[in-house]
Amino acid sequence: MSDTPIKKLNFKELASQLLPEGASFDSCLTCGLCSSGCPASGLENMDPRKFIRMAMLGMDEELSKTPWVWMCTQCKRCQHVCPMDIDIAQLVFAARSNWPKELKPSGIVRSCELTRSTSSTSAMGLPPEDFVFVVQDVLEEVRELQPQFKDMVAPMDKKGAFFFVNQNSREPMSEPDEMVPLWKIFNLVGADWTYSSKGWAAENFCMFSGDEEAWHQVIQQRVDAVNELGCRVWLNTECGHSYYTMWNAINRFGMEADFELANLVTYYARWIREGKLPVNADWNTAGLKFTVQDPCQIVRKAYGDEIAEDMRFVTKSLVGEENFIDMQPNRSANYCCGGGGGFLQAGMTDQRRIYGRRKFDQIAATGARYVLTPCHNCHSQMEDIGDHYGGGYHVVHFWTLICLSLGILGENERAYLGPELAALGL
């Protein structure tokens, strides 16, 4: 353990700077809405209301040192329900920033360092040439083994393409076949798209580590990569915090971005409505039940309920309206699963699973056999708590189910499906 001390922050001053105009902490009702809806309440004997009250009481030493700041996922549900709109997540971000690097959770720090180690901006440290190799390697295999896709493309560094498509590093690194359903969808709708050998990766643990300068640099590389290719739309695929980290940083740091930001779910919904993705629920003859997990970073923290509605439209189109069961609460009021904010990389497994219990209970109450979510951290966390607490559900990407519904899901693209769907339509 390092001897580097954690400096004492003045949390009352920081909190005062975050207040909306005309508001005052003296008016705080201490209503506890923030804490009652926070899955991190009770961990480290802390909760959001207590955090604010301790700040007002000048208990800066305790707040500066509490490891709770790494268990709060900065999901902003507390702010969402707060009558005063207090941005507690910003205080947590400030506290994280204040920790010496050597005392921060090593998994988060290392994920940030690897993100900065190559021009890929990949938290797994994948160099550009490896990404280019794996895309080409997988594409050649699909063209050979699935003759109906012998002409499918996965363009790289195509200047002027409409979509600049990002990808979570998990796919090229450890589950490359999961990229294929996405390519098939683009192929089917006739999208003009490209990957980039630079700035292609989705994740940003520098933001989670509280390292604002590193966060800025990572996003600058991505913005430069999109500008360089002259793409119209930076398309965030099924990765939760990727959108938030890009959108927030562009505004926060005043970057020049000559493109729009969009989320793939929005386009899934559009392509289904336009008839370009002719999905239906005919395959679901067993009446398998589905629910969706609203990623905090996309829904509550970015688009709001608009994209949550798109997720539900897409899901119902895929599985049948009668087979969709919402979690309660949901949309912008949904609970964080506990996989966000870098918690999965924080090495605090017991606390993360306690946090995730609320999500597990939410899922269990739906009785759903499958959870759909466009976020890799949600995905990993819900799988982990499912295994840990004995849930019988599976977590799947939207792209898997879209291709399943269309009858074009290949044999190697089914890693996340349960046994009842493992061979359906093959």
């Binding site: 690897l114 160099p127 690194m173 450890s174 990389q345």
Partner: protein, 106 residues
């Protein structure tokens, strides 16, 4: 940092049970320990081939290889690697080889 004991040997591990000092401290007792904790019944030459490939790549590149590269280097399809290491190449195999825990959204 936590430590684990196995056959009288003590190892410092990180929060997720990966060898803290990595390959610097890696030895056959560690392999035995991970074999037990991962529920692998018998270590074969195939396990060793995967460990060798992971270590060699890591020494050269400072990261674990992508599974496609691991497959090409060892000649084992991904399915076989999962049979050898049920918790997967990133978790089980990297842990046994003394590589750090995979980073990113895992």
């Amino acid at each position: 940092m936590p430590t684990v004991e196995h056959n009288g040997k003590s190892f410092q591990v990180d929060e997720d049970g990966f060898l803290l000092k990595g390959m610097e401290e890696w030895n056959s007792e560690w392999v035995e320990y991970v074999k037990t904790s991962e529920g692998i019944s018998e270590l074969t030459d195939e396990h060793q081939k995967v460990i060798d490939a992971l270590q060699e790549y890591y020494k050269k590149n400072g990261i674990a290889p992508m599974v496609r590269i691991l497959s090409k280097t060892t000649g084992f399809p991904l399915k076989r690697i999962y049979e050898l290491f049920p918790s997967g190449p990133g978790k089980g195999a990297c842990k046994m080889a003394g590589l750090p825990k995979p980073t990113g959204c895992v």
